[in-house]
Assembly symmetry: C2
Homo-oligomer: 253 residues x 2
Amino acid sequence: MYKVKEVAEIAGVSVRTLHHYDKIGLLHPGALTDAGYRLYSDENLEVLQQILFFKEIGLPLEEIKNILDRPDFDRKKTLEVHKELLLEKKLRIEKMIQTLDNTLQTLKGGRKMESKELFNGLSMKEIKEHQAKYADEVRDKYGKEMTENVDKKTSAYSETDWSDIQTTTNEIYYRIIANMAKGPDDAEVQTAVGEWRQLITERYYDCTLEIFRGLGDLYVADERFTKNLNKYHENFAPFLQEAIHHYCDQHKN
Amino acid sequence: MYKVKEVAEIAGVSVRTLHHYDKIGLLHPGALTDAGYRLYSDENLEVLQQILFFKEIGLPLEEIKNILDRPDFDRKKTLEVHKELLLEKKLRIEKMIQTLDNTLQTLKGGRKMESKELFNGLSMKEIKEHQAKYADEVRDKYGKEMTENVDKKTSAYSETDWSDIQTTTNEIYYRIIANMAKGPDDAEVQTAVGEWRQLITERYYDCTLEIFRGLGDLYVADERFTKNLNKYHENFAPFLQEAIHHYCDQHKN
DNA sequence: ATTGACACTAACGCAACGTCAGCGTTTACG
DNA sequence: CGTAAACGCTGACGTTGCGTTAGTGTCAAT
């Protein structure tokens, strides 16, 4: 028979935890002294180990109680269901990390973008700067000739070409806005989003899915973008982000 | 100026959430009616979007408050630190899933092991059954000739060979127990664990790291094993599990 | 004037303990 | 044997991000 502190040390848990398990009926000590001190038997210790094992796996105490209380409880199914939960959790976290990475990428190059101009109304110089943020990444993936290529692309535009691009951009934006009510995953919205990416690729730089997603995040994370986009329509920025996310998810495979 | 419900619908959050954000000072409405109704401005909506963006990433509200309150707050560092947290979380979950998988594997073959005997005192028949649980998995990885090979291995032992094996096993167990005080990652313990795996591989079946780890989990998850092992020394089973986990972690790369 | 629809403010609930606070018990030491 | 240290006990609040009543007030329409 061991007292709380001993058990706590043996099992590597806190005394409070044992109190807790006692209170919620997960593990009652085998006996009590006259003074009301908890005394745990060897058998209690074994059960505690089982509890800790299931806990390590991430099962909630309530489930553990079920498993231990009734031997007829379907352990296998419980564990399988739990595994699904864990897999979902993992996916969610991976998505978060993805988004975070994109945002960080964006922030890294951020210093170069101190201009008051916003993406849609960017001057050629600024467009190039924006593209430059991804230069390293792009270089890594496709070799250096591409980056130089991009450089030529943007600098070659004349002023008229430029306003042409803006017009097209506006067109796409308005097509999206016209369909906002139908949600970010609406077919027309998605088509427009695809064209938007297409435009970027053609005229600025190869807009990979990753970069594109980063752009979507940027629209919400950077208030300069947000404010500008929301001039078109309130909540346009977040809507666009969602739409781009959806687009990237769809085209992922 | 929008009332709570409108904002809730636009942003896709609950009214309660807005109340909450108001109370904790994360997002106060721009104005109040005489009756005390909350009125949100367009600017408020933008901020809300930012909040939701950071929330999606998994940042706690308190951090979000910091980021929004003071523009000089180091966003980048915060996000980087947060990313580390997420990566750790992901690792933990992956470990859980691993352990779960092992346990499930064990449970699947469980019906075949209804014998009252325990691993250490197993008859040849039972050893084969135990090994059979991993047969599919092994077959997938190394081809079928191996599985058959194992079959021959165990059935070829004479009774004397058998008791020899038991003796060796006991020896290893006692060596481990002698060093329990030094912890599961003690060098001698780890050596013994390695020999134990070696023995299994030589005499029973190729004990991959995965299978070995599964065995460790089994010692704690299946009370028949637990009880038997704890006859050697109380808490031997969980100790062995930890030691095996450590061993597998070390030999992973 | 009544009736919905909508708004407000508490305040409890959840998961799994951490962390005091206030107070009794056991043990070791002089 | 007295006393202090070490240990034990029981509340009860704090944490995180809201969900969920509960009780009550306000606004627009009939």
